[in-house]
């Protein structure tokens, strides 16, 4: 991309994003408002994550971009080619090779290391939104740790239907202080956030918020003592491509056999397993 700065945004904009990131890292789980810039990619399509990526990426970084776990998803391709065009950095599909991973809706299956950064795209950063529509009120509620309404909503869910019915984007408590949305990752991925050695950065472009989990942060999914948190049940599912078990699976319906088939949601992980398998 000629006529544009390295990583698209001008330097002062990138600095502004980095300042917000520093604050976010200093207060894990706290949503830092920032002056979200407009990008050539649509609001709601990952602009929060992209602004973070553009602001922290360096020429030596190796970038991986995934959407729904897949490197080959149209949105992942679009973001990857934009960042590559704007920076010229090398890209990869191997999560272990990458220094910087931008993701939507998944956390890679192979545990992240301390020298890696995961950037998550966030559509709705405010966990209190389900109980309170006003930003001015939710801001005060966070300050006062007034989280009873969220717990009440979960309790009401149990009273009425016998269980907590939240699917993905299941809220977590960070360091016993802030309740935070982990972005719409499946519940399956929530435990990966707890005490992870990697830095996790969350960007919500449209809502203009940035938040972070520094390495080794205490992150617990909300639950009651007698209603424990449960991840999606993947038991008995085997990947049709690589034979993996106990990872998050996509589901396919095979019209020929009428059976349900499964396949690793994390395509990079699946590829790698296939490569390492002895050919036979």
């Amino acid at each position: 991309m000629k006529n544009y700065n390295f990583a698209f945004l001008d330097e002062s904009s990138k600095r502004a994003v980095r300042r917000a990131l520093l604050k976010a890292v200093a207060i894990p789980g706290y949503q830092v408002p920032f002056g979200s810039r407009e990008l050539p990619i649509g609001r709601g399509w990952g602009t929060g994550g992209i602004q973070i990526t553009l602001s922290i990426i360096g020429k030596k970084d190796i970038l991986k971009v995934i959407d729904q776990g897949s490197d080959d998803s149209v949105n992942a391709i679009s973001i990857r080619s934009f960042v590559r065009a704007a920076t010229g950095v090398r890209t990869t599909t191997d999560s272990q090779e990458a220094t910087l991973i931008q993701t939507r809706h998944r956390i890679p299956e192979i545990p992240l290391r301390g020298d890696q950064i995961l950037v998550l795209q966030v559509p709705l950063p405010e966990p209190l939104r389900m109980v309170e529509p006003l930003e001015s009120v939710t801001k005060r509620m966070h300050a006062e740790m007034d989280y009873a309404p969220i717990w009440l909503a979960l309790y009401e869910n149990i009273v009425r239907s016998g269980d907590i019915e939240l699917g993905a984007d299941y809220p977590v408590m960070v360091e016993n202080r802030y309740i935070m949305m982990p972005s719409p990752i499946p519940r399956f991925d929530n435990p990966k956030l707890h005490k992870s050695p990697a830095l996790h950065l969350f960007g919500a472009g449209r809502e203009k918020k940035i938040y972070a989990l520094p390495p080794y942060t205490d992150v617990r999914s909300l639950c009651f003592e007698d209603y424990p948190f449960r991840v999606e049940d993947m038991s008995g599912r085997v990947c049709r491509l690589c034979g993996a078990k106990d990872v998050f699976m996509d589901e396919f319906f095979d019209p020929a056999s009428g059976k349900r088939l499964y396949q690793c949601s994390d395509s990079g992980y699946c590829e790698k397993r296939k490569e390492n398998q002895p050919r036979g």
Binding site: L152, V159, F224
Partner: protein, 278 residues
Amino acid sequence: MDKPFALELDGLVVRYGKGCPLCTDSAQALQRNRCPRCGSIWAVRDISLRVREGEILGVVGESGSGKSTLMRALYLDSQPTAGGYYLGRYHDGKTNIYSISLQQRKYIRSHLLGMVYQNPHLGLRMFFSAGANVAEKLIAAGNRNVRSMMNRTGTLLEHIEVPLGRLKEPPVNFSGGMQQRLQIAKAVANNPPVLLLDEVTTGLDLSVQARVLDLVKRIQREFGVTMIVVSHDLAVVRMLAGRTVVMLDGRIIEQGITDQILEDPRHIYTQTLVNSLL
């Protein structure tokens, strides 16, 4: 005779508006509770109270006399203009609650106070189940065990004579009296040492009123809760409170043993009130 105090107010002032030298310097300048120059309303003026543990204090006065403002200040719904507020169960009554952080005040509201509003819409979440409404107080106080909360809720509903079958129903479907009883169950869910009741029977039928008042008396008898009962109706206060203060234009104009006030009212306003009772 000196039981430890449950609640103390020292020189509470609540002013709406900026105030000006005229009304700040001299209370005499006010017309009723309004400053003729700057238009500020002095809703509560220099009120001091001391309530002993287990006592029920009545507060009577006409609408606009400052009763509800007083109750809002006591339940920490609003920050007063000046004054001290102490609870016997908080730091042994040594810390002014109006000077502490909002987070701490939240703790006090969840653990040490219960409130029943005149308008049930303020005290209940009308579209949540009755069960969740009662549990809200328990959750706010840190309970994270569903079964124990459900048990406690069941006991309380029984106590207030709401059929258990209506546990999942939202209070918006309930009658006025039932909503008030549900508010009371919610307010006492954590066994708070202090309970605040603001016009609990206003707008209810006489027979329903009697049931609510009976419930309040039972709670006081069984749990020894300290209460402040606000009403414009002297009959309610006569039934519940041992001691009564009479408010007019934001001030206390008379106070004493309830029976004594009824028999020998001093202030002309109190005399009108007592006469209207007959």
